[in-house]
Symmetry: D2
Subunit: 129 residues, 4 copies
């Protein structure tokens, strides 16, 4: 690697708190493998979906519950945090193929009443040594 690239990378890993350069490189490689796992998309993997919504808004609570119950086998569990008198944060842990996870996440995030939604991909750890 060119010296300037190395220096820029070293500044980054110091800021991120990595103990050393090889740990940081390993993380980059693993991240690429996880993205590949998602792009190829045949094997079961893990993900989480964050949803923020106002539980007073129409029937959003019941609608999310119905979507989730229709996909029982993919949902490990859901963590619910009451943010204030109106807002809820729901973190849903999903297991399935990337395509099915993406489709379920799309339905949850696009549901009427959901103010903010985000899919965060993870992994079962099997593809990354």
């Amino acid at each position: 690697m060119e010296p300037r690239l190395v220096r820029a990378f070293d500044r980054l890993i110091r800021r991120k708190g990595y103990p050393n350069r090889s740990e940081a490189i390993r993380d980059l490689v693993r991240d690429t493998l996880v993205r590949e796992e998602w792009a190829v998309g045949k094997d079961e993997t893990m993900a989480t979906v964050n949803l923020v919504y106002d539980h007073h808004h129409g029937d959003v609570t019941e609608m999310l519950n119905s979507i989730e119950h229709a996909h029982l086998s993919m949902i490990v569990s859901t963590l619910h945090v009451h943010l204030d008198h109106h807002h809820c944060l729901e973190v849903i842990v999903l297991r399935g193929t990337p395509a099915r996870i993406q489709a379920l996440a799309d339905r949850l995030i696009s549901a009427k009443g959901v103010m903010h939604g985000k899919l965060s991909v993870a992994t079962t750890g099997k593809t990354i040594v």
Copy 2:
């Protein structure tokens, strides 16, 4: 908007399952507001961090536990899923200013033994009507 842009957008929102175009536009605007909330970064907000690790690897479990206990006030709770005999998925719900959340996420993700880590920003819902 130009017709071609509208058509491309309509295809996307159909694929994502939005009931109509205005719900999709609203989500785009809210997403921008959440990103702005994070960029400006003065107010308390919410986020989750996903970590995948092998609990047999050195003292990774204890190290994560120590980092988390040193940031008690920022951690709402942690959801732990046992993936297989080696791998764990940990979903940590965080509350704090964007800068402090980012710093804590960096420390968790860069910890030795963590195979995959991802910060997923959320919101308290206050900045998005």
Copy 3:
């Protein structure tokens, strides 16, 4: 029922906040059915185990993690709350036959370093209409 018994029961259900007497009676009957489900103990059921421990105490964190990973198929997920710099509350959601749940709960609660443990039986809801 004798009048005195009815009056005592009415005082109790008022204190507990039940909307009416029949809702309270239904809950009593269901509770008996859940207890029976556990006494007979052939079918899969649900339970939670609460554990309080000091994560600085020996290798309690790793030991609990190992016990849990050896019973993967029975553990739905674990919710972890950091109480203070020393103490953790772990809530483990279990699925299995009563005998296997009881045996796993005993091992978790009796583990060295666990300060407080409690099994709380639940149900899959199938035996109670």
Copy 4:
């Protein structure tokens, strides 16, 4: 202790899997302290409530959500497990004085549509060394 009592106790602790008699005795003493903490009931403590309900039943989901939002400061987070197409298991982690926890648990458990509910007391760990 009388020999017969000791033998009966030894059989119990073998069955429960305790490594030795003193660990079992310690657990008994701690359990008494936790119960005392709850009986005296001035200090903040921890508890969980398990609820099983059919989310299709009337407005049970929304009612529970409303009760929980009205007690925001006492609720750490809620773990939700979808049991089958009808039934949900909700595990609510509570923080507060025993009296306030008991009152909130009573309201949740007696809510119309809740099929099974159970309060399981825990501790902040401060009263048990």
